[in-house]
């Protein structure tokens, strides 16, 4: 293998480049990234960066270029696996022997808001800069969606002393991952900090003055005045450029248990990769640690030309909301029993174990990083 192209210059792309070098690949690496920025860290975009306490320069993920060719501000438009060529928006064609797909995803937009200013999604640094500019003193903010991104944006907006309403169509936030009781605890975090939480009601329409959003109309008929609306309604994997490539796509790039696609010289990593689990079925994660860990296995298999190693997810996710650190590991979604094993949810400092048929499958902690870290290792050892 002489040339490897990495498409997507964010966390998973950067980690792939790093792993290629670490694992001894000394050929040519070409990285193609649509954003003009060198790889940067997204999690602070809802947290310290949005709050104005972490400058953009601090977001850079690495100071090293790993002797790769970085083509930034350039999109991969299509790929032809039969000839190993990647066609770029600049007109250039890159010929490669190996391809790493690390294109992540794009945020879902609120329908009917395309032409309205004041309505934001949050995925990129440019998105965060645009949102920040709109968060003027006194602004009334409506956040649609109480998932991770929505909850963190609401928390940061409250820290900026803005008026915040969170609208969530589900009756309990985070219920799928955390269950009804702990989901309700997440709801309390919002209301304890002066957020108006509208649960179990969807958005019907947006009011505007011709160019700018002025409010949100809910399905129950109520009207929320708004200067700024932020959508936290999920993302779609960025696979449009792979249409017609012959690679199997279905809510992401389908790959095997080792992140290898139907072509052994093409692997997928990070938010875009939907890999096969040892139990069958495919999963895709949208979390930082997954994007950081998958490249280790994917690159090993790419360089070997076959799937010699299986990816084992840690399922680790963290979130910071209202000064509370939330951490999750394992598979909390499939649990039939949740037991608080240390501390108390009332104090916002506890660790809970998620079990299925009596066996631990996941852990959730608020403000208890130390015990969480220990239990996370025990869980990995027990389920491994």
């Amino acid at each position: 293998m002489r040339t490897v192209a990495v498409v997507g210059a964010s966390l998973a792309g950067l980690r792939s480049v790093e792993e290629l070098r670490k694992q001894g690949f000394d050929g040519r690496i070409v990285v193609i990234g649509e954003e003009v920025h060198a790889p940067y860290d997204r999690p602070p975009l809802t947290k310290a960066f949005l709050a104005g306490t972490l400058p953009a320069a601090e977001l850079a993920l690495s100071d090293d270029d790993f002797a790769a060719e970085w083509k930034l501000g350039v999109r991969a438009d299509r790929v032809d696996p039969s000839t190993g060529s990647v066609h770029l928006s600049s007109g250039e064609i890159v010929r490669t022997d190996g391809l790493v797909i690390a294109t992540g995803g794009r945020p879902r937009a609120l329908p009917g808001t395309a032409a309205m200013s004041g309505v934001h999604t949050l995925r990129t640094l440019d998105d965060a800069v645009a949102l920040q500019a709109d968060l003027r003193p006194g602004a009334r903010v409506v956040v649609v969606g109480a998932g991770w991104i929505g909850a963190e944006v609401a928390s940061t907006c409250r820290a900026l002393d803005l008026d915040v309403t969170v609208v969530e169509a589900a009756p309990v936030p985070m219920e799928r991952a955390l269950g009804a009781t702990l989901g309700a605890l997440c709801a309390d975090l919002h209301t304890d900090h002066g957020v108006e939480l509208r649960l179990g009601v969807g958005v019907a329409a947006f009011a505007h003055n011709g160019s700018r959003v002025t409010g949100v109309v809910l399905r129950d008929g109520s009207h929320l005045p708004a200067d700024v609306v932020v959508a936290g309604i999920g993302m779609e994997p960025a696979t449009g450029w792979l249409r017609g490539s012959g690679l199997p796509l279905d809510n992401g790039v389908l790959c095997d248990t080792g992140c290898v696609t139907s072509i052994p010289s093409v692997v997928a990593v990070g938010d875009v990769a939907r890999y096969r689990t040892p139990l069958g079925g495919h999963v895709r994660h949208e979390h930082w640690t997954n994007a950081s860990e998958q490249p280790v296995v994917a690159v090993r298999n790419l360089l070997a030309g076959a799937t010699i190693e299986t990816f084992r997810p840690s399922g680790y996710v963290w979130s910071d909301q209202y000064g509370v650190r939330l951490q999750i590991a394992g598979e909390t979604a499939g649990a039939d029993e949740i037991a608080v094993i240390d501390g108390s949810p009332d104090d916002r400092k506890f660790v809970a174990e998620f079990r299925r048929s009596g066996q631990p499958v996941g852990i959730f902690a608020m403000n208890n990083a130390k015990l969480f870290g220990r239990m996370r290792r025990q869980l990995a050892a027990a389920t491994g």
């Binding site: 980690r15 790093e18 860290d41 602070p44 310290a48 972490l54 993920l61 690495s62 100071d63 930082w288 640690t289 950081s292 963290w318 910071d320 650190r325 990083a369 130390k370 969480f372 870290g373 220990r374 290792r377």
Partner: protein
Amino acid sequence: MITACAVDDLPVGESMRISGEVAIAVFNADGEIYAIDDTCSHQDASLSEGWLEGCFVECPLHAALFDLRTGVPTCLPAKKPVRTYSVVVQDGMIYVDTRSREAVA
């Protein structure tokens, strides 16, 4: 010099945090006592809550690994070292020099 704690209160594999102007994390790594900045050089995490393995501590937030002897991270996402501090063990007590090694040097 400030008093961290009694040696007996910091068994092997344990860590503690000394709050102050700059919080310091103190570790007992297989009998050897080390002190470094408690706040991770990457983002906002307390290294005294991290996972101790040999003379390395893994950050509890994003798993950057720091060498307790030098403060240097061995992997991303941390890029900058944390400061290290001299430790004196005397009469069963652990004392930490709150001037970092670089400041002293």
